[in-house]
């Protein structure tokens, strides 16, 4: 995708500003040059934050769990974060979206702390900032490099995105990835970025529910699907599509084998599409090892997340997870064999 050449506000396009900067009227020229400079500064800030996420981290007062929830009152994302409506330790809100964002962020924080000894997204107690009621009928949730943002859905295809712990865990894990391997968000590295977000979003849910791999649903987004779609979830770690020939959503595009890998340009090179391949491999590992997935498969994958770098690809993921299984649980053990077999089963 080409770089956005407009600032966040996107009022006057650059070619207009360029012409105004050559105006014979001094005031017009000065204001245009100022706008161009602001735009360049904003672009530089966004690029810098993309490369150095630590700069965007809001430190919590005492480097422990700290949550802030804001209400956007259906305004667009240019107005993030919105109005502060709940802070850490504050009373519950009458607004279920606020409480869901708060509670699920808390569960995800606790999951990373207790299972991986990780103190928030940056491992330094970074404040978890969430904004709810973003936009009107907004069918999406995202991580903007600094915070989470959740739409309410249109009530047709999706309902509010804060309902799903795996969605909240997914978005927060993008923050974890940003503060660790910082995988480039395109092609295979981007698919790994999405994969880790799905894995740890799912594990947070399974951990909260105290589920074994066998009892877990291995679905992404089952709680946000709207009444007019027949799809039960957006994605599944299991073989086969999450939905097929749905009149609204179509068919789940995720491949579960390397031979079906998407090589086009949509979705930044298929980051949400090709994540299906490592997702299925993780499910196979977890199923083979039995018990709860955060006990063995989780640490293998977490250690790998920390070891990869911005340009890591699927081949490096395969190698690193296999190596880490041996490192953590012994060379030649059932863990290493399960990881190797899972990758083989999905085509590596």
């Amino acid at each position: 995708m080409n770089a956005c050449h407009n600032p966040i506000h996107c009022i006057l396009p650059p070619y207009i500003l360029d012409r105004l900067a050559e105006s014979s009227i001094p005031k017009v020229r000065r204001l245009a040059i100022q706008a161009i400079a602001r735009s360049a500064a904003l672009r530089a800030t966004r690029t810098t934050l993309g490369r150095s996420p630590a700069l965007a981290a809001v430190p919590s007062p005492e480097a422990k769990k700290d949550r802030l929830v804001y209400d956007m009152k259906q305004k667009g994302s240019t107005f993030l974060p919105g109005k502060l409506v709940r802070r850490e330790g504050g009373p519950r809100s009458k607004d279920p979206a606020v409480n869901e964002a708060y509670d699920h962020a808390g569960v995800t924080y606790d999951f990373y702390k207790k299972v991986f000894a990780r103190n928030s997204l940056d491992d330094r107690g970074m404040t978890l900032v969430s904004s709810v009621h973003v936009g009107r009928d907004y069918n999406n949730a995202f991580w903007n490099g600094e915070q989470m943002a959740y739409g309410d859905g249109d009530g047709v295809v999706f309902v509010r995105f804060t309902r799903s712990l795996d969605v909240v865990g997914h978005e927060l894990t993008h923050g974890v990835v940003s503060h660790s391997s910082n995988l480039d968000y395109r092609n295979e590295s981007g698919a790994l970025n999405e994969h880790f977000a799905d894995v740890f979003g799912s594990l947070a849910k399974q951990w909260k529910k105290k589920q074994t791999s066998a009892r877990a649903d291995w679905l992404i987004g089952p709680d946000i699907m709207g009444p007019e779609t027949q799809a039960k979830s957006l994605r599944t770690f299991k073989a086969g599509p999450a939905f097929e020939d749905d009149p609204i959503l179509g068919t789940d595009p995720q491949p579960k084998h390397l031979k079906n890998k998407y090589n086009g340009t949509a979705d930044s090179g298929g980051v949400h599409i090709n994540s299906g391949i490592p997702n299925h491999a993780f499910y196979l590992v977890a199923s083979a090892l039995g018990g709860s997935a955060w006990v063995k498969a989780g640490p293998i994958w977490y250690r790998t997340l920390l070891a990869l770098n911005q340009t890591s690809d699927f081949a490096q993921m395969v190698e690193m997870t296999t190596q880490n299984a041996a490192t953590l649980f012994g060379s030649g053990g059932s863990e290493e064999k399960a990881v190797a077999k899972a990758w083989k089963d999905v085509g590596f």
Binding site: M1, N2, A3, C4, H5, N6, I8, C10, I11, L12, P13, P14, Y15, R43, R46, T47, L49, G50, R51, P53, A56, S77, T78, N139, N140, A141, F142, W143, N144, G145, E146, F161, H170, E171, H174, S178, D184, Y185, R186, N193, E194, A197, G221, L234, D246, I248, L249, G250, T251, P253, Y262, G264, A266, D267, S268, G270, V271, H272, I273, S275
Partner: protein, 101 residues
Amino acid sequence: MGIRGIRFRQSGGFGGLVRCCEAAPEDLGDAERCALERHAQAERARAATAADSGARDLLVYEIEIETDSGATRLAFDETCVPEDLAALIARLQQRARPVPP
């Protein structure tokens, strides 16, 4: 530059779903046509660079503009939609249908 048609593609977002539609020149208002031509001209004059903002799961909108002299592709994430294309993109979003990627 005469616009012969446009192809719209929405992808990305949390769901990663791909939706597309096409529009004929007569589907565009005069202001929209002018805006597309201006953005296409600016796009051709600019070297393509991929700046990572650090944002994840944003919706991505692509408009491929077909003209007599070839095709030009515009791409924006949902936080970067130019004001003069916002209404057109909203309309194309409504019209777009799910397609295999």
